[in-house]
Amino acid sequence: MTGPLIPMGIIGQGWDLVIALLIGMAFGYVLESAGFSSSRKLAGIFYGYDFTVLRVFFTAAITAMVGLLYFGYMGWIDLSMIYVNPTFLIAAIVGGLVMGLGFIAGGYCPGTSMCGVAIGKIDAMVFTGGMFVGILIFSEAFPLIQGIYESHSLGAVKVNEVLGLSTGTFALLLIIIALLTFFITRIVENKVKKVEY
């Protein structure tokens, strides 16, 4: 069966939401069991006392990236049907920095705050409430922000194309970078004073 299954019409639209629920459960289970329901564990990446986030995140991105390339190579998936997030340069950079500020202030990101909420973290519940208000503010102020939001559109461009590399070469390069950061952050973690949480 050549994927993606739902866009190909192999799995009917009626199963859509059941699959969403099951995938979400697996996602939430893995995040929580990795420790992502704890803001103090998440914040460790920024102060050098716990690099769990980096290890999980980088390993996951590379696993899925290499998996997609392999599935495409084997003809199991039509890669042209895979969604590539469009790039709007200014909005992406400013938005990312604002999220970074929110991350260091609040200790969570949206997905991890859901994990915190699920196990009873009151701070995660407040963070989620804050997100609701933030999105409401953005939406109401949209006429003021629309210029930045839509400027410098590059389309659904891929990073390897920008760098002039093949997908395989880029994946290899990223794996090497990941291994180096795993090694370096291990050394940093050992040198930084332990934080009890």
Binding site: G3, L5, P7, I11, A20, G24, M25, A26, F27, G28, E32, A34, R40, R55, V56, F57, T59, A60, I62, T63, A64, M65, G67, M81, I82, V84, N85, T87, A91, A92, V94, G95, G96, L97, V98, M99, G100, L101, G102, F103, I104, A105, Y108, C109, P110, G111, M114, A118, I119, D123, F127, G130, M131, F132, G134, L136, I137, F138, A156, F170
Partner: protein, 177 residues
């Protein structure tokens, strides 16, 4: 004795590389089935859109932003990401329950009060909410999923979210360490 065992058990997490591999497989399966990656902030956005549309339908329909996410044939809450995030809550609850981590509490550094932590969590959430809309997705939907599909947007999100965190970390250190 029993008490300390419970504390130890609740701090036992899965090996990060194994977790990363499993998360990568979940993400790969999501792409294989749906053609898209995972997400989180989109579900909150749907909740906001649904709330605003309920309070004032004309206001939502007249807005250039809300109207992007309102269609005639389906309710804004009846979408893929909302159900996926309900699943996240259930899955995380299950993991927390099995590990003995279910507890209603405010987690904070001993150097700050619960009140300070909650104020910072609220401000952080608000900023993350704004940033996620401007950046067209959060750590899950744009950074992680975008990286897997090699989208330039995914790598910009990765570098700016985490880079931003490092950039501002110095000013927030007393809240964490």
């Amino acid at each position: 004795m029993t008490n300390s065992n419970i504390i130890d058990r609740s701090k036992r997490y899965t090996n990060p590389y194994l977790s990363g591999f499993l998360l990568g497989m979940v993400l790969l399966a999501t792409f294989y089935i749906t053609g898209r990656g995972l997400g989180a902030s989109g579900a909150i956005k749907s909740t906001v859109v649904a709330t605003v549309a309920t309070v004032s339908e004309s206001h939502a329909a007249g807005s250039d932003y809300y109207s992007k996410f309102i269609s005639d044939d389906s309710h804004p809450m009846n979408n893929w990401l909302v159900f996926q995030v309900i699943g996240v809550l259930a899955g995380a609850f299950l993991s927390g329950a099995l590990a003995g981590r279910l507890k209603l509490k405010v987690e904070h550094s001993p150097k700050i009060t619960s009140r300070t932590r909650l104020i910072m969590a609220g401000i952080g959430g608000l900023l993350f909410g704004i940033g996620s809309q401007l950046g067209r997705g959060c750590t899950s939907g744009t950074a992680l999923s975008g990286m897997a599909s090699m989208a330039l947007a995914g790598f910009i999100a990765l570098l700016t979210i985490f880079g931003g965190g490092y950039l501002f970390a110095y000013f927030f250190r007393k809240f964490w360490i």
